[in-house]
């Protein structure tokens, strides 16, 4: 559906993107993840032919976005970061304006706006001025704008930034609801958001691709180290630390004495041996009371930190 091929972008001397390659399949929700300033927005702006690349191409269904800007924009619904809207306009007038530019014919416009108001949950504010809307509603109006022509591709840049937790959940639900028949690119630096909504993740760091794959693939590939936390009672911190280290497969043990006389050990494990049983057996033989034993699965967060903090 979308092919990004050797894409580079310079702003003067600053290299914002350096030979980026990735592709997005039809019907996929792709998360574009990276720290602020990594090049996510630049990539998206080139995709929407708002900016021109220094070299390389992006093709949508074999159409180069540079040479066929109008044709490719027709396939894309785009919600820029922080949903810029005309503040003094009435929501309805704004959506009608977008509809006219999307070449929806005049008779069909009221019906289309009604449909979108229902999908995006803006029915009760459609006759209000955009000025009066909360951030959450503005984001929804922005989303309605992006969905106007029922595009095949939906590009959302930080769709939940600046929203409160309830609004974030609502917007995510909304994205999931509309994701069924669309290809979506979701740009974010919030990991939980990508984890909650995306099938596949491309991690960009300093203008380069740091990782590309499904969440499971990334966890298998980059999440080689995993952690176990164990909490013991009736044990001495020193002995817990030294004895745990004798178990093969344990790399590192950090021990903390808690207020209630228990001891927490955070154990870094390499390889895939069954460390949990070994820890349990050790505790049994030393007569420590094992209060808690918890296996942390490697999260996107740890992968992200590992890949972007070099």
């Amino acid at each position: 559906m979308i092919e990004v091929d050797n894409l580079s972008k310079k702003y003067g001397d600053f290299l914002a993107l350096e030979n980026i390659n990735f592709s997005v399949n039809k019907g996929e929700i792709l998360g574009l993840l990276g720290p602020n300033g990594a090049g996510k927005t630049t990539t998206i702006r080139i995709l929407c032919s708002y900016l021109a690349p220094t070299s390389g191409t992006i093709r949508i269904k074999d159409l180069d976005v540079q040479r066929n800007d109008i044709a490719t924009r027709e396939k894309i619904g785009y919600l820029p970061e922080s949903a810029p809207l005309y503040k003094d306009m009435i929501v309805y007038d704004y959506l009608a304006f977008i509809a006219s530019l999307r070449r929806i014919n005049d008779q069909a416009i009221p019906g289309r706006i009604k449909e979108l108001s229902a999908t995006c949950g803006i029915g009760e504010v459609v006759h209000k001025s955009i000025n009066e809307l909360s951030k959450g509603y503005r984001q929804r109006v922005g989303l309605a704008q992006a969905l106007m022509s029922d595009p095949e591709i939906l590009v959302l840049d930080e769709p939940t930034s600046g929203l409160d937790p309830n609004q974030i959940i609502e917007i995510r639900e909304l994205i999931k609801k509309i994701s069924k028949e669309k290809t979506i690119i979701l740009c974010s630096h919030i990991l939980s958001e990508i984890e909650a909504t995306c099938d596949r993740v491309v991690i960009i760091n300093e203008g380069r691709i740091a990782a590309d794959g499904t969440l499971d693939e990334l966890k298998n590939k980059h999440g080689s180290a995993s952690y176990i936390t164990a909490r013991f009672k009736d044990a001495a911190a020193d002995s817990v630390s030294s004895e745990l280290k004798t178990i093969t497969g344990i790399d590192e043990v950090k021990v903390n004495s808690e207020n209630d006389n228990s001891i927490t050990a955070r154990i870094k494990v390499s390889g895939s041996e069954d460390i949990s049983s070994a820890v349990f057996n050790l505790a049994k033989s030393r007569e420590w009371t094992l209060v808690n034993l918890n296996q942390e699965s490697s999260s996107l967060e740890s992968i992200f930190l590992e890949l972007t903090s070099k």
């Binding site: 310079k10 708002y50 021109a52 220094t54 044709a71 027709e74 785009y78 970061e81 530019l101 070449r103």
Partner: protein, 251 residues
């Protein structure tokens, strides 16, 4: 280019303008300034000076048309300054420029809306020929010519204002740039009074006043029309290239 897209942009721009109090303030100030200078205060910046109607006692609107380059220098930039600046500032330009619309359609749409707005401004001065009619018999042919000249001048200054607005996201800066360029066209002729007549006859072709004054006297000369249309087109092209270069440069 798609005519429908141009009209879509123009319609929204034109109506959006009237959402804001700025529109009414600018229109009111324009009417007030026009009436004051036409009826009461002598305007001596230009040569020959424009004497007010009640002093001159001629049933003609020549003075009104000759005043317009100076008045438009202030009032047209005031209504065009937000055209692109505001969109850059609030980020709506990014949304607009990623819709299936060409830059040329966008520029022409914005220009058309601004031009329509200046036509509203010009229309508000129509009370002047009718007032003149109450006390005398104006030459309606000359009135028509004068207003035709006013429209060409408005188009020219509107394209300058749009261009200035495409340069910056700060509306005040856009206003100042547009006033400076318009003032150059409006004051050029008056400022060059010290030049020898032979040079002046060439130089005056670049001044907007010289051409407007022809219209004001009731002359329709193709050269005047060509001049004003060319300047309009040049500034529209510059706006177009400005927008394309701003975003489409490879570095």
């Amino acid at each position: 280019m798609d005519k429908k897209q141009i009209l879509n942009i123009a319609r929204k721009e034109f109506s959006y303008f009237f959402y804001m109090p700025m529109a009414y303030i600018a229109l009111f100030a324009f009417i007030l300034a026009t009436a004051l200078f036409f009826f009461v205060i002598p305007f001596k910046i230009t040569q020959p000076p424009i004497y007010p109607f009640f002093i001159l006692g001629q049933s003609s609107i020549e003075g009104l048309i000759r005043l317009l380059p100076y008045l438009f220098t202030l009032f047209i930039p005031a209504v065009t300054m937000r055209a692109f600046s505001e969109e850059f500032d609030t980020g709506t330009y990014e949304m607009l420029a990623t819709l299936p619309i060409r830059t040329s359609e966008l520029v022409l749409g914005k220009f058309l809306a601004s031009f329509l707005l200046t036509m509203v401004m010009i229309a508000t001065t129509l009370f002047i020929p009718f007032t003149v009619m109450l006390v005398g018999t104006p030459d309606w042919g000359a009135v028509f010519c004068g207003y035709l000249g006013a429209l060409f001048l408005a188009a020219m200054f509107a394209s300058i204002g749009i261009f200035a607005s495409s340069l910056t996201k700060n509306q005040i800066t856009a206003f100042i740039i547009a006033v400076a360029i318009c003032a150059l066209f409006a004051l050029f002729y008056d400022a060059m009074f010290f030049l020898p007549t032979a040079i002046l006859t060439v130089v005056r072709y670049f001044s907007a006043n010289y051409h407007v004054n022809n219209f004001a006297r009731g002359l329709i000369d193709l050269r005047d029309i060509v001049y004003m249309l060319s300047v309009t087109v040049v500034f529209l092209f510059m706006t177009y290239y400005r927008l394309e270069i701003k975003l489409k440069s490879k570095n």
